[in-house]
């Protein structure tokens, strides 16, 4: 019996057509744009100015505040300007424009392809390296990793959970990374275990990635305390709360952090980045991006530097199809629809999904027929249709009582609604409002 989470969940068509496509490099264009806000939290303070020369790995944005992450130059060249540029948020944000000249790396980065297993750093030093390298959660949430790996005082991590679920349909970047960099991921896991001082780690992989399950089951034998757990294919299993429930049977109470049940979750992509940062001194400047879609000529997985415009990646996949209606950064369930394909790849770009016009348009919404599908699929056990109504009529106190802020915005409700109601649109709005009210009350 395969494990899975206990409440709600859906199973959209997987459509992983880019699975098994080897990770391929991409030519660096003449100019890259690096947004100074690629993570949750405060944007970086630029530490370069117009005309400065930078190498690959040079710090260009310094983190300010507790929740923030450094940003390094992914290319070598000259800083053209620091100006506002459209990013995936849909708004213009401060970005560093760099003119690319050659490909010269900082001397401190170890560029050899050899696997380096031994790590004799103390936990504090490891965390320091992770923070310096600007590592963020690469599953899409982009939460700074060093913050996540520092449990608040009074709490103790018991288990490290490695998220190899990739429950979003279409995306295969994590899957392919697991297939090609399994040793690095496992060494990275031991490093994070050491940093957290935990003896146990579980790698959760969904059952539609049989090859990865086999590979890891084989390889974990060499590592103490790491196990592999195959999981039933179910969305949103990659959600932190759902994954912990699936793997440990513990449910995080409303409003609490994963550490309250002794778990810390890290995505496989993040673990690989941590390996590179700690063992190779390489900051987070590149990531694997899946470019896929129904009409895409050559769906592929690309190792792209941060800052390369998405249209260059789409060109590698055979160009933007004629029928394109929507371009999504990320997966179809939680990704962001983009207003322009000129925006750059950032640390959180897990994929580019191109949806044809015919499938991109939403249908007209009808009246709710109270079929309760949304309730039965909600992985947080909420009542989406009630929450939408409460938001529409601005009944914030009741919405708070109905735990609107527990919503993880997975989109299962909107996905399943037979009346095509934009449930999540409204719940997201209500969640924001209620969060604001709660914050105002605290102050």
């Amino acid at each position: 019996m395969l494990k899975t989470f206990r409440i709600g969940g859906i199973h959209p068509k997987e459509k992983k057509i880019s699975a098994g496509k080897a990770i391929q490099p991409i030519v660096i264009p003449d100019q890259v744009i690096i947004p100074l806000s690629q993570h949750i939290g405060a944007p970086c303070q630029p530490v370069v100015k117009k005309g400065d020369n930078v190498k690959v790995g040079t710090l260009i944005g310094k983190s300010v505040g507790f929740v923030s992450a450094n940003i390094h130059s992914p290319v070598s060249g000259t800083v053209l300007k620091i100006d506002k540029s459209l990013d995936a948020s849909g708004y213009k944000r401060d970005s560093v424009f760099i003119k690319v000249e050659g490909d010269e790396w900082e001397a401190s980065v170890d560029r050899s392809p050899d696997l380096k297993r031994a790590c004799d750093l103390a936990p504090g030093e490891i965390l320091n390296k992770i923070a310096t390298a600007g590592i963020v959660g690469m599953g899409g949430a982009t939460f700074p990793s060093h913050v996540k790996l520092t449990p608040p005082p009074g709490t103790k991590a018991e288990i490290l959970i490695i998220n190899g679920v990739e429950c979003e349909p279409w995306l295969t970047s994590d899957h392919q990374l697991m297939m090609e960099k399994s040793d690095e991921i496992l060494v990275g896991t031991t490093i994070v275990m050491k940093a957290l001082n935990v003896q146990k780690a579980v790698i959760g992989i969904e059952n539609n990635k049989q090859d990865a399950i086999r590979l890891f089951t084989q390889k974990v034998k060499e590592y103490d305390g790491i196990t592999v757990q195959p999981l039933k294919v179910q969305y949103p299993q990659g959600g932190e709360k759902q994954l912990i429930d699936a793997l440990t049977g513990r449910q995080i109470p409303s409003g609490a952090l994963p550490i309250s049940v002794g778990a810390v979750v890290q995505n496989v992509g993040t673990i690989f980045a941590i390996y590179e940062a700690v063992q190779k001194n390489k900051p987070l400047i590149e990531r694997v991006v899946t470019v896929t879609g129904k009409e895409v000529k050559q769906p592929c997985n690309i190792l792209s530097r941060v800052g390369i415009p998405l249209n260059k990646l789409i060109d590698v996949a055979g160009g933007l199809p004629e029928t394109t209606g929507k371009v999504v950064s990320g997966g179809p369930m939680m990704g962001k629809a983009l207003a322009s394909i000129d925006i750059p790849v950032s640390k959180g770009t897990s994929g580019i999904l191109i949806i044809p016009t015919l499938e991109a348009k939403r249908k007209t919404m009808k009246d709710c027929i109270r079929c309760a599908r949304c309730i039965s699929v909600c992985p947080m056990g909420l009542n989406p249709t009630l929450l939408m109504n409460l938001t529409e009529y601005e009944v914030w106190d009741r919405a708070e009582k109905e735990h609107i802020i527990d919503c993880i915005e997975c989109g299962s409700c909107s996905y399943t609604c037979p009346a095509d109601r934009p449930l999540l649109d409204y719940i997201r709005l209500g969640k924001g409002k209620v969060n604001g009210i709660i914050r105002a009350r605290k102050n």
């Binding site: 322009s340 919404m365 997201r428 924001g432």
Partner: protein
């Protein structure tokens, strides 16, 4: 007959008993209330719109009675007349406040502000603005999905189907401020209605640099400061590449209107100009929205 009598007597007894109980309960739980609160409430418009900052007319009335002076208390719906009445009831004097009206500070019609993408989410400005900058190159301008229309209890603001921008109906607007709060882009502002409803304002909130703003929208304020130089009363400020006309200082001389290179300053309800303005090209600047 006796049956009838019994029935009447029984019912009568029950009725009398209930009345007695009700009376006693009413006496016991009686709430002492200042009778003036009811009087004040009666003279309010009973729109319960919340424009005064209180949850409804009743709580505004009790606030009026409790307050020391009438400063900071104003019913935008009833206006000066109502406040004078309320003040008279309470034996005070109401401060004189100028009548205000809502103005929409975006003039980016379909022609002047081309659409670059199609929004396909729920028809709600707040949801759209949380998602992205909007379907045009201007991430400050009106989204046209009508949160202001939904918020208005007086049917005083409507989306023009041609321009896709909201328009305020002057006779109906009570300056309650509901649309100002509803607009996620902070486009709507309450401004002095002005004598004969004449007013001048910068109909743009774009804070981008001039070139970027102009590229996104033909009638965007580019922060060129020509209007600032033209203004004899120092009523115009420029901040973040955006001009703003301060209500209290503006004397409605209209000198700023023709000098604006993008025609982003609007004048309302003025008679047509007689003399030729300094730059003849700008003659059609008298835009009535």
């Amino acid at each position: 007959m006796s049956v009838l009598l019994t029935a009447v007597a029984t019912l009568g007894a029950i009725g009398a008993g209930s009345a007695a109980i009700l009376y006693m309960v009413g006496q016991k739980f009686k709430v002492e209330e200042d009778p003036r609160i009811q009087e004040v409430q009666d003279s309010l418009p009973a729109a319960n719109c919340g424009g005064c900052g209180f949850p409804g007319c009743a709580s505004f009335a009790s606030a009026c009675v409790k307050a020391e002076s009438m400063e900071d208390l104003f019913c935008p719906v009833g206006g000066q007349d109502t406040m004078d009445k309320v003040a008279a009831l309470l034996g005070r004097k109401a401060p004189v406040a100028a009548k205000k009206i809502a103005v929409v500070r975006c003039n980016g019609t379909c022609d002047s502000r081309p659409r670059l993408n199609l929004y396909d989410g729920a028809s709600n400005c707040t949801i759209a603005s949380a998602l992205y900058g909007g379907d045009t190159g201007c991430s400050f301008g009106c989204l046209g999905l009508g949160d202001c229309v939904d918020s208005c209890t007086f049917d005083a603001i409507h989306i023009n189907p041609v321009t896709l921008l909201p328009e305020v109906v002057e006779d109906k607007c009570t300056a309650c401020g509901a649309c100002v709060k509803a607009c996620p882009k902070d486009i709507i502002e309450l401004r002095k209605q002005g004598p004969k409803s004449r007013r001048i304002y910068v109909s743009c909130v774009n804070k981008d640099k001039g070139g970027v703003a102009k590229k996104a929208c033909d009638v965007a304020c580019i922060g060129c400061s020509k209007c600032q130089q033209a203004c004899p009363f120092e009523a115009i400020t420029i901040e973040n590449n955006l001009a703003f006309i301060i209500d209290d200082k503006c004397r409605l001389c209209r000198k700023c209107v023709p000098v604006c290179p993008t025609k982003s300053i609007l004048e309302l309800n003025f008679p047509p100009r007689k003399e030729t303005p300094p730059t003849p090209k700008e003659e059609e600047a008298t835009v009535i929205v």
